[in-house]
């Protein structure tokens, strides 16, 4: 099988999440491909707009919900602008899933702290749903930092979890940077969980059982250093800190060389050795974060 060949997937639904991000729900046309398509949270696919190009996108739905998968795509450039014009019923090519994903089985029975910044919410939503659907994790915290109320991805789901998360062992905390009436309203309703600030402010007052907790981080490149410092301050082991990274990718399978990081003693491919790495990896591979 040619690994560069893509499979037709139909867009079942397009939903505006914010002014920049849309949620695409897809299903493969070929039932056999659909049945075989399995993935773990943290993996990504390559989207193929035939005749225009390809680009990598994380899967933001959970493998526990079969029959479809979802991609949250931010409009930033040539290809993503093109996708944003697509409608329900249109067909795109998909190959993947690629990457290692988060070690969900290994983390069973533990607490999960998901730390999301901006678009980093997309891959972590897959983890969140997975944890809620399987019920195999102790407690799940989601610490989510966004610019403004209008930028909150999956806003309905986040607000739902703010209200009813407890019943699912899931507690959500939200930090926003730009004040607005909606934010103030949210803050009033959930004064212990919504605040103005950056994502690291959400750690304030949080204590967790470091022996039984994993942290999963995804956000813009600048965020990692600060979040990791908070976690290390609380004595979480570097091996329990997982982060998912972004690099330029063309092939997704370790051939094109664009996603290579590291030096003479440790070269890593973000596409196949990652995109999920632990903080140990970051300590031994220069340029990872």
């Amino acid at each position: 099988m040619n690994p560069y060949q893509t499979y037709d997937a139909r867009i079942l639904e397009v939903k505006d999440l914010t002014s920049r991000e849309k949620l695409f729900t897809l299903r493969f046309l070929d039932p056999e491909v659909e049945a075989k398509f399995d993935f773990r949270p943290g993996q990504f696919v390559i989207v193929d707009i035939r005749g225009f190009g390809e680009f990598p996108i994380s899967i933001c739905s959970s493998p526990t919900r079969r029959g479809y998968f979802q991609l949250c795509i931010r409009k930033v450039g040539r290809m993503t602008k093109f996708v944003h014009k697509m409608k329900e019923g249109d067909v795109v090519g998909i190959r993947g899933p690629y990457g290692n994903g988060f070690p969900m089985e290994k983390m069973e029975g533990s607490n999960l702290i998901l730390v999301a910044g901006g678009l980093g919410m997309a891959p972590l939503r897959s983890v969140l749903w997975y944890a809620i659907d399987t019920g195999k994790y102790e407690n799940v915290w989601l610490l989510y930092g966004t610019k403004a109320y209008e930028d909150i991805l999956f806003r309905d789901e986040i607000i739902h979890l703010l209200k009813h998360g407890e019943a699912m062992n899931c507690s959500v905390k939200l930090a926003y940077e730009v004040e607005s009436p909606s934010c103030i309203y949210l803050e009033r309703g959930f004064s212990d969980r919504v605040c103005k600030g950056v994502v690291t402010d959400l750690f304030r007052g949080e204590e967790f059982d470091v022996e039984n907790t994993y942290a999963l981080i995804c956000g813009p490149p600048v965020m990692y250093k600060f979040v990791i410092r908070e976690l290390l301050d609380r004595k979480l082991s570097p091996g329990r800190i997982y982060m998912t990274l972004e690099r330029r990718m063309r092939c997704g399978i370790g051939k094109c060389g664009h996603c290579i990081v590291g030096t003479s003693t440790s070269i890593k491919y973000v596409c196949k050795d990652g995109p999920v790495f632990t903080y140990w990896d970051a300590l031994s591979t220069r340029g990872l974060i």
């Binding site: 690994p3 560069y4 060949q5 390809e54 680009f55 330029r248 051939k255 094109c256 290579i260 003479s264």
Partner: protein, 334 residues
């Protein structure tokens, strides 16, 4: 290994017999540089060449090639390769192919590379180092595998090492061209290799190299050379182990498009650029250092990502010397 002898008088017939295995390519002289080209006559070959500008990777991983063709809204592929015989590869280039194999044949294998590789016969040839070669330091100056036949020059012909089943088949089918190896041939082989070993002028000491380079991440030497470097990417193009590619879709007409890939260079500014304008290697220093780290990466199972062929030095317009940079960086550690 099986060893046979091909005497000079049979060389022409041996050459002709190879045509049955596919189109023949060998080093020829073009102006003042050497290049692997199609040949039909032994006289066209320049077997005493030092190095070609583009390494043999161009036959398997092409400078530019279509990987998929769009017809009626579907991608079609053309993987079928033509049989080829690559004649006259130096040991470093054979090692270079082995490093590329690790990338392109690793699952999922690249079908274009794989198909060409499987249909190609590799015939190595012995060489004498010039001032640019440092393959001996890297252990890539002698090929123990990765070829079908390897020809070592003798005063009156060639000592041939048979490295594969296909190599055996060639020898079998042309049995009348070959002879047993004599003690005299062995002595000549040994003498040649000893002479060759002493002829290396450039050396790259290995002790702790990968670690010392890593430790010297902030060495001012990187900066010094990055300022001289023109960021032309020549060193990437000519390197037998560089294999980054960029992909682009191109419309042929209103109904047909091709997905093409072409050589890319980590010296290009957009190599580490992602959407939104964030660049993971924004400065020339970052990119210069990245290339040296990538080439000097030591894989315990495969060695370095450099085979010491000397191409990057010979074809660098800024006259930057690979070994010199590494030695200076290492030396800059206090």
């Amino acid at each position: 290994m099986r060893y046979i002898k091909l005497s000079s008088k049979n060389f022409g017939r041996f050459f002709k017999s190879l045509e049955a295995w596919g189109t023949l390519y060998a080093p020829v002289k073009r102006g003042c540089i050497y290049s692997f080209q199609e040949v039909h006559d032994p006289g066209e070959m320049a077997l005493d060449y030092n190095r070609t500008m583009l390494p043999p990777k161009k036959f398997f991983f092409r400078p530019k090639e279509a990987i998929l063709r769009l017809k009626n809204g579907r991608w079609e592929e053309e993987v079928e390769a033509e049989p080829m015989v690559l004649f006259g590869l130096h040991p470093c280039d054979i090692h270079g192919l082995k490093i590329l194999d690790k990338v392109y044949l690793d699952e999922p294998a690249d079908p274009y590379y794989k198909s060409r590789r499987e249909k190609t016969l590799i015939i190595g040839i012995s060489c004498m180092p010039d001032e640019y070669c440092f393959c001996k330091s890297l252990g890539t100056h002698f090929a123990m595998d990765g070829f079908d036949l390897f020809l070592h020059e003798l005063p009156d012909g060639w000592l041939v090492r048979i490295g594969s089943v296909r190599g055996h088949e060639i020898a079998w089918e042309n049995g009348e061209l070959f002879e047993e190896v004599t003690d005299e041939d062995l002595a000549n082989f040994k003498e040649f290799e000893e002479k060759r070993s002493k002829a290396f002028q450039k050396e790259l000491p290995q002790e702790g190299l990968a670690d010392m380079l890593d430790l010297a991440y902030n060495s001012p030497v990187w900066k010094k050379y990055a300022e001289i470097c023109l960021a032309c990417g020549n060193c990437n193009m000519v390197c037998p182990t560089c294999r980054c590619y960029e992909v682009c879709d191109r419309w042929v007409d209103a109904y047909k498009a091709v997905r093409e890939r072409r050589y890319d260079s980590c010296f290009m500014e957009n190599h580490g650029l992602v959407a939104g304008g964030h660049n993971f290697r924004p400065t020339r220093l970052d990119r210069f250092r990245h290339r040296y780290y990538c080439k000097s990466y030591f894989d315990p199972s495969a060695g370095y990502n450099c085979v010491g062929c000397g191409r990057c030095d010979e074809f660098c317009p800024a006259k930057i010397e690979h070994v010199k940079v590494l030695e200076e960086v290492r030396g800059s550690l206090q």
